[in-house]
């Protein structure tokens, strides 16, 4: 019995040595460092370093345990072998891998998809804890970086939403801990993304999804909820991941340094004092009371006191005593801040001008609301009043303003924009900020200004885009007319703050004198014609400049597209004169009888008629004047005769002399 057992044991332990293809057999060939083969175009080294293999985690396995396909009988084995299936033993990991981005890419046949050996190596796999392992924490960033650093095919050709991942990581607190301080417990790529089941953050199963990120972070930061009172207020953010900010909202992934607040302060600490309605500043007696309810209803409801009121020091009994600077909104609203700095308001603030408005003059402070909130002073319908606080006639801005625009707020209110906004309640109507911008308002003389002559059509075009397009093609556009003369822009005809509907009588009549400011002679001669005279009487039904020439789309008459080109002019006349013909269109709409060279017919007709008129009046007038003294004489004679008759014969008075005489009758 004992013998049989020993024999069986021997067989069991050494069974393989009885068959071909023991490791030694394999190494007979694969020991050769020059053993190579060609797969496709690639030369593959087939050398197996026995030393590194035997010290690897798989050192006590036979080659054929992994390379299962190799036939026991044949030596050397056939050349085409399928890849080693690690999942045969590591089936749990294999399952994760198949769900993972990498695994899925591989299943789709993506040549860039990493396989087990791409990360772990093949014959030389070392345990994770071995500092020489390619998957040891210290080496993970380099390993992942093989594919995920800038410029790699993966980063260039695959859809990776983040960039500079490796650079940002190495500068982050995690990267610094790991790479500079050698803290191998510091988070590496796999700590957050997991090693084998890497999923996009949009996937709810992902370790970095919004829902799971807190769990992921708290693997290491397990007590964060007790110390991180400021943001999470001691509540379980894991339970209410939807309402509470997730870690990554404040701590940018890969850039975990960028936090805006000082550690350890919570609003509760501030409110201990500032909740008191009677609290005042010792310097100037200004109230320091903070209406916390107002703050919580504001746009900054998720923002902690110390995020804005920086420089607090938790170690002090009164943490705010270290505050030196005013709140700088630009630390979060950097872009707006930069715009404000170059604006008129910002530059006045920089000059310490006491009238210059800062952020809070317009936006308020703790109760700041978004511009879409009707309660907000920056809501569209409230803007004219907001700007009017300084820009209404007599207020501080108008006192220093030396330009030509007067009574701006009232004019605006009466304008089509003002009526649209304030009477019709159309919040899409242009308000002050739509033309002047909200944060970068500049005087029109500044080339950067949104209302500068060169920029205004683009500014108006934000809403009136179709008009901007038309105008850009018209004769008045600098793109079309290359001239030294000043070309008109929107406000030259429409004014700035008194813009009226173009279909109102007043506008229609006024536009002619607007055109006439540049086109002097043409406007003057227009008023000599029937059209002009009727317009002058104050009626809009006859042709005015734009009826024939167009408004924003005026083209030179030499352009076949022009309304007044030879092809189109009859059609243009027909809009009012349905029976117009080619010769009718030859009517001189800007004729004058004062120009003998241009219009000799009219000139001579006029002077002929005037000559006739003057001649007739001179002859008839002279005749009449000469007649006058004799006629007076005659009147006296008649009167005398009449009286004589009355005396001689007291008969009825003669009719026709005067009314009084008849009344006596």
């Amino acid at each position: 019995m004992n013998r049989i057992f020993i024999i069986l044991l021997f067989f069991t332990l050494h069974s393989r040595s009885f068959f071909p293809q023991s490791n030694d057999d394999c190494l007979m060939c694969h020991e050769d460092p020059d053993l190579k083969t060609k797969i496709g175009n690639k030369t593959v080294l087939l050398f197996v370093n026995q030393k590194s293999f035997s010290s690897s985690v798989h050192g006590n396995l036979e080659c054929i345990d992994c390379h299962t396909e190799i036939n026991f009988e044949e030596t050397p084995h056939r050349e085409e072998l399928t890849k080693v299936e690690c999942g045969t033993c590591h089936d749990d990991v294999q399952k994760l891998y198949t769900e993972c981005l990498h695994g899925k890419a591989n299943a789709k046949g993506d040549a860039l998809a990493p396989l087990c050996q791409d990360c772990h190596g093949n014959h030389n796999i070392l345990p994770v804890k071995d500092r020489n392992s390619v998957v040891s924490p210290m080496k993970i960033p380099v390993l992942c970086g093989k594919c995920h650093r800038e410029g790699t095919p993966v980063q260039l050709q695959r859809n990776i939403p983040k960039d500079s991942i490796l650079e940002n990581y190495s500068e982050s607190i995690h990267g610094e801990g790991l790479l500079k301080k050698g803290l191998i417990v510091s988070a590496t790529c796999v700590s957050c993304h997991s090693a084998h089941r890497i999923l996009p953050h949009t996937d709810p199963r992902s370790t970095i999804s919004r829902k799971n990120i807190a769990t992921t972070c708290s693997v290491c930061h397990s007590e964060i909820e007790t110390v991180h009172r400021q943001i999470i207020r001691g509540e379980l953010w894991e339970k209410q991941a939807n309402t509470l900010p997730a870690c990554v909202d404040c701590h940018q992934p890969h850039e975990i340094r960028r936090v805006f607040y000082d550690y350890g302060m919570s609003d509760k600490d501030c409110l201990e004092c500032h909740d008191n309605p009677n609290i005042v500043a010792s310097i100037d007696g200004k109230s320091l009371f903070v209406n916390y309810a107002e703050l919580k209803n504001s746009r900054h409801t998720g923002t902690a006191c110390s995020q804005c009121h920086t420089e607090v020091n938790v170690s002090k009994k009164r943490p705010c005593e270290t505050i030196q600077k005013n709140v700088d909104c630009a630390s979060c609203h950097a872009e707006v801040g930069a715009e404000y700095l170059v604006s008129m308001h910002g530059s006045l603030t920089a000059k310490m001008d006491e009238n210059a408005p800062s952020c809070k003059e317009c936006h308020g402070n703790h109760g700041v609301l978004g511009k879409l909130n009707p309660e907000s002073p920056t809501f569209a319908t409230n803007i004219p009043n907001l700007c009017g606080k300084c820009h209404r006639e007599g207020e501080k801005a108008t006192v220093r303003y030396k330009g030509s625009e007067k009574d701006i707020i009232n004019h605006y209110t009466e304008s089509i924009h003002g009526k649209g906004l304030l009477k019709s309640g159309l919040t899409v109507t242009a308000t002050c900020t739509d033309c002047h911008t909200a944060h970068k308002e500049l005087p029109h003389t500044n080339p950067e200004s949104s209302i500068n002559r060169n920029n205004i059509s683009h500014t108006c075009g934000t809403c009136h885009h179709g008009i901007e397009e038309q105008f850009a093609k018209s004769i008045h556009s600098p793109l079309v007319s290359d001239t030294e003369k000043k070309l008109p822009v929107c406000f030259d005809c429409h004014s700035a703050h008194e813009i009226r509907r173009a279909d109102t009588e007043g506008f229609k009549l006024e536009i002619m004198s607007q055109c006439g400011r540049c086109h002097e002679q043409i406007a003057e001669t227009y008023f000599d014609t029937y059209h002009g005279k009727v317009s002058q009487l104050g009626y809009t039904k006859t042709a005015k400049c734009y009826d024939c020439h167009g408004a924003h789309d005026i083209l030179p008459i030499t352009n076949p597209e022009s309304r007044l080109s030879r092809q189109n002019v009859v059609e243009t006349c027909k809009t009012c004169h349905p029976a117009a013909n080619r010769q009718f269109a030859g009517y001189l709409t800007h004729a004058t009888h004062h120009d003998p060279d241009k219009y000799p017919f009219l000139f001579w007709t006029f002077w002929g008629m005037t000559g006739l008129l003057i001649g007739t009046f001179i002859i008839a007038g002279l005749h009449t004047l000469l007649w006058l003294p004799r006629s007076l004489e005659w009147r006296r004679k008649l009167k005398k005769m009449h009286e004589d008759e009355l005396n001689s014969d007291n008969d009825e008075p003669v009719e026709n002399k005067s009314k009084t005489e008849k009344d006596e009758e």
Partner: protein, 278 residues
Amino acid sequence: MSNKNKYVLRFSRLNRILHVCMIVSFLILSLTGMSLKFSYTGWAKVLSKFFGGFESAGYWHRFAATIMIFVFIAHIVDLIRLRKKEFGSWKALLFGKSSMLFNKKDWHDLRDSLKWFIGRGPRPEYGRWTYWEKFDYFAVFWGMFVIGSTGTTLWFSEFFTNFFPGWILNVATIIHSDEALLATGFIFTIHFFNTHLRPEKFPMDIVIFSGRVSLEEFKLDRPYEYKELVEKGELEKYLVEQYPLIVIKGMLFFGWTALAMGFSIIIWIIYAMIFAYR
């Protein structure tokens, strides 16, 4: 009954009616036309508004023009009728004693009038129609032709440009407007003076409405015609009774209104040409 209470019939009923129509249409034409011609003045704007805006004023203008054309036609028809009934031939109508055509006596009257004006002779013995009355009469013919033809061209501009170039409209406008200015100016100054403002007729002569002139005045004013009638023994044929007072008052009222409007237009034109010209 003495001749002192007698009145001589000077104008037929039709002629009087036509003249009233002429006055009405001429005033409307002047008011609406001048409001356009002098559109740069304040009064023109008020006037245009009074007529209900430029479009309505245009309708008024063309309506009045139509009346005037009818007046003209009615007069021509009347002449044809007169030729048949009273004269028998065109020759008798055109060259007879009461013709509107200028004849030798008119030239003599003009010469003698000028002499009288400068104190070198007595007042000429004027006949049925004086030379200035004949001038006024033919001025209307001329005006009807010039203003009427250009006005029609402008009225039917789309039609007329089928035959004429477009600048004809510009020329027509100038002629229409300047001739209208001449007509208005002439009627409201020279005609008004000759007929109404002349001291011996001042302030108004309503003979054109009543058709009657007192025999006494007739004798003095038109001695030549008086003599002729007496010689022919035809005077009795023309003697009529005066209208009742109320009718005369109505005529005076109408006359005053027309005179006032005419003078207003003259003042507006002078204002427009001297003070507001541009």
